[in-house]
């Protein structure tokens, strides 16, 4: 059974500092993961992804790291901005059915 776990329901950081959001997974068939960002009263939007052939993918201020041996991935946001305040979902992809974690609510304080 596929599972994606985000063990921290919330995270608070100061503007300009690094935000690190963590995610653990089990039984991944494809080792392909995505991060989605969700603002209140809106649908999730795709942020960044990583596939098994890489251990790092970078897009501007956002970097995702994948450690396949530990079955762990993390999203780094540097520098964090108040507009980054949202819920971040770790998602397992690669099949017709996305598997979502419960999400981590990030608050970036000015």
């Amino acid at each position: 059974d596929q599972q994606v776990k985000q063990n921290s329901p919330s995270l608070s950081v100061q503007e300009g500092r690094i935000s690190i959001l963590n995610c653990d997974y089990t039984n991944s068939m494809f080792d392909y993961f995505l991060w989605y960002k969700k603002y209140p009263a809106e649908g999730p939007t795709f942020l960044i992804s990583i596939s098994s052939i890489k251990d790092k993918n970078e897009d501007g201020r956002f970097t995702v790291f994948l450690n396949k041996s530990a079955k762990h991935l993390s999203l780094h946001i540097v520098p964090s901005q108040p507009g980054d305040s949202a819920v971040y979902f770790c998602v397992e992809g690669g099949s017709e059915k996305l598997v979502f974690g419960k999400g981590t609510k990030l608050t970036v304080n000015p």
């Binding site: 994606v4 329901p9 068939m29 494809f30 392909y32 995505l34 009263a41 809106e42 649908g43 999730p44 939007t45 795709f46 992804s49 596939s51 979902f89 992809g93 690669g94 099949s95 017709e96 059915k97 996305l98 979502f100 974690g101 419960k102 999400g103």
Partner: protein, 116 residues
């Protein structure tokens, strides 16, 4: 290009009533999905469709029905609404998906449903 649109935005139902949540996408995507999100939880897949005339169950299909008569529309039907169906419902679409796919899903803004 409106993307994925959902109606209504909000709805309150009484126990036992029925309703249809509408979803339309204008991106000519083959794949469409319905999710529900309960408070403090991630999204769970209700039903999905890989093309017009083809639908399949997701993780939590009980109490729901879907149809896909056109590429653009994917309505979700609730029959005999129950309080356990109080949730936020998201529709999504993607051009391709499946094993090895790196495509992403695009989500609508959601429908907040309360069953009293």
């Amino acid at each position: 290009n409106a993307g994925v649109t959902q109606t209504p935005k909000f709805r309150i139902l009484k126990i036992g009533q029925s309703m249809t949540l509408q979803c339309t996408q204008d991106m000519n995507h083959n794949y469409m999905y319905w999710y529900r999100q309960d408070p403090g939880m991630g999204l769970k897949l209700i039903y999905y469709s890989v093309g017009a005339g083809i639908t399949d169950k997701g993780e939590v299909p009980n109490g729901y029905n879907v149809s896909r008569s056109t590429t653009e529309d994917f309505p979700l039907r609730l029959e005999l609404a129950a309080p356990s169906q109080t949730s936020v419902y998201f529709c999504a679409s993607s051009y391709s998906i499946g094993p090895g796919s790196t495509d992403t899903q695009y989500f609508g803004p959601g429908t907040r449903l309360t069953v009293l």
